[in-house]
Amino acid sequence: MKIKKNIRTAIILVVAFCLLTPVGVYAGAPYKTWTRNYEYDMTETQSAYEPFEEITKIGGELSLKEPADMRLGPDNNLYIADTGNRRVIVSTLEGELVRVISSEEMKMPKGVFVTQNGEVYVADELAGKILIYSSEGELLRTIGKPTHPLFGIAAFKPQKLVVDKRGNLYIASTGNTNGIIQLSPNNGGEFLGYFGANKTRVNLLTIFRKTFFSEAQLSRLADVVPITISNLGIDEKGLIYTVSQGDDILTLKKLNMAGINVLDADWYDEYPAAVTTNDYGNIFMASKSGFIYEYNSEGQVIFIFGSQDDGRQRVGLFNTVSGIVADHQGRLYVLDSVKNSIQVFIPTEFADLVHDAFVKFEAGRYQESKEPWQEVIQMNSLFSYANIGLGEALFREGGFTEALQSFRLGGSYKGYSEAFWELRSEWLHKNMIYFIIGIAVFFVVWNVLKLLDRRFAVLAPVKGQLQRVGDVKLVNHIMFMFHNIKNPNDTAYGIRFEKKASVGSAFIVLLIFYILFVWEKYFSGFLFKRVPDGYFDLVGDAMWVLSIFFMVTFCCYLVCTITEGEAKFKDLFIGFIYALVPFIIIKPFVIVMSNVLTYNEAVFITFANVIAYTYTAILLILTIKNLNDYSVKETFRTIFLTAFTVAIITLVLFVIYILVSQVFEFVSTVFGEVVYRFGLL
């Protein structure tokens, strides 16, 4: 559940709002509405849906009791599984009673579904049956536990179900981890097989357990069993949606005919309760704790809103959500099994605009979607989808500069790359000739200068100056690093015996490395940058670079001293830093390239990086080998031991940190008591 990741920041945000005059939203709704920002994080936006009314009594008299499911029928009525009262209530969207469906056989109706011809399917968990009623409420037939040998002794406690257009039943059964039970309409519900099962997550721990644990031990572990599917939905095309509780990803799935998930959602909730789709394919998922997620058909989250009623008693909050329905007017109906009510939400003008634009955009009518997107931007300039949509429209109109800007605001790297490509080629077209002339002029001047220099030594003063600079010892020491490129063996010798490098020069090289490191980190082109805009932590980076260098050098030195290495600490330190020379040579080009290349040419950057890192790694290895006069085998042994030592020291530091913070906690507890007792301070 990625939403969790953002909870802390969001809490801070709320606290901040308590005291500073809020500039942001405080429209009527008691909950905040979130959307995705250009950095794919949650950000607040205007209310998308506002609470409209709460239906507590159907037809003014029938109260619900622990209702567990709700669907929209083809007759535009709500079908509510009123579990606690052992009945199904059919209600209009306004809450007027249409009819009550119940019969002797109904014991615990947990799920309900209405087919196109009006037949009402009821999943009865206690009876272990599917009950099928006519649209008038007359019991037509029942389907019991499948007798097919393949079904075996698995549990059949139908909890939720959907029926496709051919009459196939898809049933989620309590405690059945094999997946959805698929039954044919023929032969009284013939078992067709399992469908769309969840898988257990594979991680190092589970692999470890599977390798070493016995069957009996494994069966006692909870997380080796996949989570069960808790609710289902079906869309116009007959695609099945499932929600499952208890995991942090893939709890919402859209299954194709083969039962394979085709949805990759931006955000997941750990406890989704129900899922539905609306007329234009948007997916609505309600979590048990009262968050409503609206995704587009691709699984990109458009809005998240709602929350749990923790005693605030404000309209639009939930206790335990058990069902959600989206009607043809864009309203949402959310069933609450503890409040025993249905809360109705209507889209705001803002959400209507967003939906309108989305429908056009997703149908590929980019030009048509431009206007609504612009209106959305008028209300929220930072709405990520609107900026992407506008970018697409502008791109097609040839307004690449504006498109580039919009893509950047929307966080569309692909769009940005394409627009940038167009702009760049436009620029090159215009300026290529000057570029070529410039290069030609440079070569001519260069050659003339060379010629003149040979004849009349015109460059002699400059050369002399350079020579003098080069003669300065420190400069000489620094320049020595370039020696490492071609002659790593000599370099080691030079460091150890010839004093061709000093600690001072090493620190300067390290500084150059650090500058390049932060330059790349913070000033790469938009397409290749990995940190958010406006984020800088130069001190942190410096600490990081320094501590890594000292740690590695120190550990390596420790290992060397006990494995008959000959290098001194100083030698190792200088050697390691001088081994960074490929990085120092190549990175400037990478940084410049990152500002002018698009994703089409990204391979150049990757290639340059591979060379930089590989060459650096090779030089590091050679440095260890040459400085210590090791054999290849000894070198690698030293490297592994160094890595191990680093790991151990890190662990020890971590343990010390924990202990110290425990002591600190203890001291501050005592201090807190003292403050309380004596009223100090």
Binding site: V15, A16, L20, V25, A29, I377, F678, L681
Partner: protein
């Protein structure tokens, strides 16, 4: 490692010894108690109450004036107020208790006054009423009411209740002087006075309760069948953040906080008998809570009241992350209780009538004396500058320079917008966040500096606009105001008051002591005057009151309030940001007022109570139009309430704020808002031209239709539904409105 843990044990033992010594000493410290001082006026002698005449619901006649008769039930100090013209009445207690209610509640609702006390270290409030708790009442009748001295012998607590009948209704007082705590085991917690006045059994009559949530809201009287579990119980003037724990829920992030109570009022309306009262807290408002309990929550009755809190309970954390002790505040809060119940009848017995009554009350007190003339203007706020991070230092992000602001004002004037009030945010060096605290008149050089700002003042003046510089003397940015940290206040837990900002640039702030805020503000006021700054928009201190510690001294909200009032007095030409009622008298205009309410499940409708009170008295501007999701509904709400609109604009695109602390502003570009401002101005100018600064005297709702009546005879009809509707002979389009004034008629449909 073993060695290490041994040392830890030794250390732990040492600390434990220290702790034990501390605990031993702690017994020497006793709770501070309240006691009567010499200044208390003695009780009138020889004027006992002699019940006579025919009782009404066990209440005997006490006194009367030309409007009302007051009856008293001496043993429970319950009163009955009768309308002399209609003979209808309201009683402050329930004569027949309901069997299902708990005994404690039965005692509660049969008593005129109820005390909640705290016993020793047990920090739950316990009720002491006049039925279940043994008590001794000394009663003295005066000309227009009675005095009563109530003593609880078992608790050794006594206090005096003074009740007076005047032309509007009943005034009840408990002077703090009169409260005596004889035994340190029993401490006064809270008081209720006539909590059940006008209460109704299970919604058995027509009417509603009024609560001051946001603009105002009503709770219809009806049988709720136990649907609601918690009553409305909200402190007046926001929660006391120095005491109350303000982040309890793990899902805190997902809520919009409910509205704060800006005005210390509440009310009960009996529509069937056309009798209603409004409770106005005259003294002790800053330590009162408004409580409205719909039937089924605490009792089977609907009742609304004020609760006065003398001692609060809070959590004293003892550890870094968890653990703590419940404590009560060191000393009792310092205030007298004075509350008036003003009655209205006839066609005034509705929420609009209550609002009118409250308005009249405020006018009599001279609250609106310093208010500007109510002339229609649109509020167009400018966002100046903020800071963003760069590799080595912070960069200024200029959103609207002083020159650009001048251009915007000129553009609007050319578009026909005549009358602008403008708050300039982030005008100072460092910008909105980086400029806190602002100790001097330091206009940002990057926005044009002093000279450009002076030009802006001039441009504004020439274009019928007025600039107010935003002024926050309370919040200090921890990074830019480090030197001020010695003036920061501490919470009642004696821990610093850290405020976290969700910002990429600055993430922490703290609050200054009111005294320091006052000093800074007074200083700045002088600079403002010297530089002829046209106006100041005072923010944050206008809606913040807290109890706090500073240098080991405990100060309560009352102390805080006095200083803030002085602070506001020290400024000239000021408008106030969502001010609490105690500051209204200082404002020439108010801005950032709420337009709606918190929509509690038990409220039936939201009403523009606040706007009715302020109408015709003081210009008041509501929250920004920028961030409203329903623009049509918002415009209708403006027309309905008579409030003025506000916009936040920037010359640059707000995406430039993404890397700053102000990244929550997602819509403000002037070029996009220009047509909207002009359109809204034109619509409202026309409407307010007819209402002409006259006060609202009536307000009615029929489903989605609303009618507002002004004193000058203007009537406004509004339709909040998308379907057409009609109010008598007035037909309205979907989202339509109609304004009728002496034959003139304007109206239309909100686009």
């Amino acid at each position: 490692m073993a060695c290490f843990s041994d040392r830890k044990n030794v250390f732990a033992a040492l600390m434990a010894v220290v702790l034990i010594i501390c605990l031993a000493f702690s017994g020497m410290f006793t709770a501070k108690i309240m006691g009567a001082s010499g200044q208390l006026q003695p009780m009138p002698a020889n004027s006992p109450f002699v019940p006579s005449g025919e009782p009404v619901e066990d209440h005997y006649f006490l006194c009367e004036n030309e409007n009302w008769k007051l009856y008293l039930k001496p043993e429970t100090l319950s009163v009955l107020v009768m309308d002399k013209h209609t003979g209808e009445y309201m009683v402050s207690t329930v004569s027949e208790p309901c069997e299902q209610d708990l005994q404690a509640w039965k005692g509660f609702y049969q008593s005129g006054v109820v005390l909640e006390y705290i016993k020793g270290t047990n920090l739950n409030y316990t009720m002491a009423d006049l039925v279940n708790t043994p008590n001794d009442i000394k009663l003295a009748v005066v000309e227009d009411g009675f005095w009563a001295e109530i003593t609880y012998p078992e608790l050794s607590i006594s206090y005096r209740l003074v009740v007076t009948l005047d032309e509007y209704g009943v005034v009840a007082e408990i002077p703090q002087e009169s409260i005596v705590e004889g035994d340190e085991t029993f401490a006064v917690g809270c008081f209720y006075i006539f909590p059940f006045l006008g209460s109704v059994y299970e919604g058995s009559r027509d009417g509603y309760m009024f609560i001051p949530d946001g603009q105002g809201a009503i709770i219809e009287l009806m049988d709720n069948e136990g649907r609601f579990t918690q009553p409305f119980s909200v402190p007046v003037y926001g929660s006391n953040i120095g005491i109350d724990d303000w982040s309890s829920s793990s899902m805190e992030f997902s809520y919009n906080e409910s509205m704060e109570i800006l005005m210390p009022v509440f009310g009960m309306v009996h529509s069937d008998t056309q009798m209603a009262f409004i409770g106005i807290i005259e003294e002790g408002d800053y330590f009162a809570k408004i409580e409205a309990s719909p039937n089924g929550t605490l009792t089977l009755f609907d009742w609304v009241t004020a609760k006065f809190v003398y001692r609060q309970v809070y959590m004293q954390p003892t550890g870094q992350s968890s653990g703590g002790l419940l404590m009560r505040t060191e000393r009792a809060n310092n205030f007298d209780i004075k509350i008036r119940f003003d009655f209205v009848n006839g066609d005034q017995a509705n929420y609009a009538g209550l609002a009118v009554r409250y308005r009249e009350y405020l006018k009599e007190k001279g609250v609106f004396a310093s208010a500007d003339e109510e002339e229609f203007k649109v509020q167009v706020d400018f966002f100046g500058a903020d800071k963003k991070n760069w590799a080595l230092f912070k960069l200024n992000v200029n959103m609207t320079t002083f020159k650009q602001a001048g251009e915007i004002i000129e553009t609007l004037k050319q578009d026909g917008v005549d009358g602008i009030l403008s708050v300039y945010r982030g005008w100072q060096k460092g910008g909105v966040y980086g400029g806190l605290p602002t100790k001097g008149y330091t206009p940002a050089g990057n926005l044009g500096g002093k000279s450009e700002l002076n030009n802006l003042f001039e441009t504004a003046e020439n274009n019928n606009a007025k600039i107010y510089l935003e002024h926050d003397p309370m919040v200090v940015n921890k990074e830019t105001g480090l030197f001020e940290s010695m003036n920061s206040i501490k919470r009642v837990t004696k821990k610093t008051f850290d405020i976290y900002w969700n910002g990429r640039v600055y993430d922490q702030a703290f609050l200054l002591t009111p005294e320091r805020s006052l000093a800074i503000s007074n200083n700045l006021a002088k600079s403002f005057e010297k530089n002829s700054v046209p106006g100041v928009a005072l923010t944050n201190v206008t809606h913040m009151l807290t109890s706090y510690y500073y240098k080991g001294v405990y100060m309560d909200r009352g102390d805080n309030m006095k200083v803030y009032k002085e602070l506001a007095e020290g400024l000239t030409n000021k408008i106030l940001d969502r001010p609490y009622a105690y500051l209204w008298s200082e404002a020439s205009a108010m801005y950032n007022l709420p337009i709606g309410g918190s929509s509690y499940t038990y409220t039936s409708s939201e009403i523009p109570f606040l706007s009715i009170v302020l109408s015709g008295q003081i210009p008041h501007y509501v929250e920004y139009t920028n961030f409203q999701a329903n623009q049509k509904k918002f415009l209708l709400q403006l027309i309905e309430s008579g409030a003025f609109p506000s916009f936040l604009v920037t010359h640059e695109d707000p995406f430039k704020l993404q890397e700053t602390n102000s990244s929550d502003i997602y819509s403000s570009l002037f070029d996009l808002y220009r047509p909207k401002i002009v359109e809204m101005y034109n619509i409202l100018k026309e409407v307010y031209g007819l209402t002409d600064g006259s006060p609202i005297i009536g307000h009615e709702m029929r489903g989605k239709l609303t009618r507002v009546i002004y004193e000058n005879g203007t009537e406004i009809y509004l339709n909040y539904s998308e379907k057409p509707g009609s109010w008598d002979e007035h037909d309205l389009e979907g989202y339509g409105y109609q304004v009728v004034n002496k034959g003139r008629e304007i109206g239309g449909e909100v686009e």
